[in-house]
Amino acid sequence: MNVLTDNFSTYGEGFLGTVELTVYSSVLALVLGFVMASFRVAPVGSIRVFGTAWVTVLRNTPLTLLFFAVLLGLPRFGLVLPFQVFAILALGCYTSAFICEALRSGINTVPTGQGEAARSLGMTFGQTLGLVVLPQAFRSVIPPVGSTLIALAKNSAIAGAFSVTELLGTYKTLSELGYNIVWTFVWIAVGYLIITLAISALFNVLERKWGIAR
């Protein structure tokens, strides 16, 4: 029990590190995912190919390999950034592929008739997209995006093994100090549960507010 109380600052630091990683990477993943999803439904062939390649490659890349390539490979190009930024880059890009797929299937759930109806009412492309398609897509997209972001929070543990300050990495410090290793991990597990449950609660609220009953 005193593993937690004695090392509250170590745990707190790790916890905050994980939260920070999760938040920043989520933002990056959502933005990139949105861009890629719009690429994938674009009417222009080469853009669509680019989006598809991005998604296919990243979805089939082991995240550890991506971390390895980004954290240890990019500096070889002379790109000097803090490790946390590299970790956010790797996590964000990886997750963007999954976000993209969730968004795309969301857009595809909107029946063709909706768009046709909008256009026959004389709406412009922007209006069709903004007033008809996206609001409907957004609703059906909440649950899959939520579970993707939970997966992201869990995946952020890999960053700790690459020496970014986060929750899982605290075990090294604490085991060197000679604390009971099982309890160390119990509190690490609790930390992750808090984060994943918080995201899931947030998306439950969103779902209740915006989601469609299916």
């Binding site: 080469s46 089939n60 390539a69």
Partner: protein, 292 residues
């Protein structure tokens, strides 16, 4: 695919012309981007002889192959055990006895909510286990739990009438399961199961972090050697196509099975969504095709 979307009309001649212009422009931009990356690679001397020379040697090739073999070994064991654990947990969740159901639910939810890496490290560090069993244990607990959910939803999505008809014929629960529900569900679940195996294959690379001598570890050993000028980029260029290729092959196989099953009349009664990467959300599955 554009034709079927709610976003656009079928383009007319002028729009098609405009799209063609955009296409040329974006192709140029993308090619420019690729060219710039290639230039960077050359500029920072990633194609020098010293950096690629190690790959000429048999010893290095064997090291990489051994690593690949270890990766596949971990994948095979973890895959088989995950399927077994998944079946067990699914049976528990579908049990008629409340305590069993309860226990299985708690286990499934807990293991799905934990990062795989935390479980692997826990087994490796706290339970003091060798790298391979630790990796396999972590992967099995996580993927087994996810597969349990796939199995359960597969069984649950067999049309209700099938189960009712079977019970009406006087079959026992185990008979209904074995002869009616599972055979129909398995075919429909196959794509989702294979997709989850792709996740397991990808996650074997986590073994690298606990010094299991798998593919990435072999790569790192070469990449971090000062004698070869630290060939990180060459190693990544060699390793990633193989990793990505393996996963894509398996993903493609999942897609192929799914397409074949969709055409098969035997599975019409069932519709299983792919396993969602995350958890804890009611209806966390990706949306399936909407009704009219």
């Amino acid at each position: 695919m554009t034709e079927a979307s709610a976003l656009y009309d079928i383009p007319g001649p002028r729009t098609r012309q405009r799209h063609f212009a955009y296409g040329v422009l974006s192709t140029v931009v993308i090619l420019g981007l690729l060219g710039w990356i290639l230039h960077l690679l050359f500029d920072t001397g990633q194609f020098t002889y010293t950096k690629w020379m190690p790959f000429e040697y048999k010893g290095i090739q064997e090291l990489l192959l051994r690593g690949l073999g270890n990766t596949l070994k971990a994948f095979a064991i973890a895959g088989a055990l995950s399927l077994a654990l998944g079946g067990l947990l699914a049976a528990g969740r579908l049990s008629d006895h409340r305590p069993v159901r309860w226990l299985a639910t708690v286990l499934v939810e807990f293991f799905r909510a934990m990062p795989v890496l935390v479980m692997i490290f826990f087994v490796f560090v706290a339970l003091k286990v060798q790298p391979l069993p630790a990796l396999v244990a972590g992967l099995t607990l996580y993927n087994g739990s996810v597969l349990a959910e796939v199995f359960r939803s597969g069984i649950g999505s067999v049309e209700r009438g099938q189960r009712e008809a079977a019970f009406a014929l006087g079959m026992r629960k185990s008979q209904v399961m074995a002869h009616v529900l599972v055979p129909q569900a398995v075919r429909a679940m196959l794509p989702a199961i294979i997709s989850q195996l792709v996740v397991a294959l990808k996650d074997t690379s986590l073994g690298y972090l606990i010094t299991y001598e798998e593919f990435l570890h072999a790569g790192k050993l070469i990449a971090s050697n000062l004698d070869y000028d630290l060939p990180f980029i060459p190693v990544v260029l060699v390793i990633s196509p193989i990793y990505i290729g393996m996963c894509m092959l398996l993903s493609w196989f999942a897609g192929w099975v799914s397409r074949r099953e969709q055409r098969s009349p035997k599975t019409e009664a069932v519709d299983v969504a792919a396993a969602a990467p995350g958890t804890l959300l009611p209806g966390g599955d990706p949306p399936t095709a909407p009704g009219p």
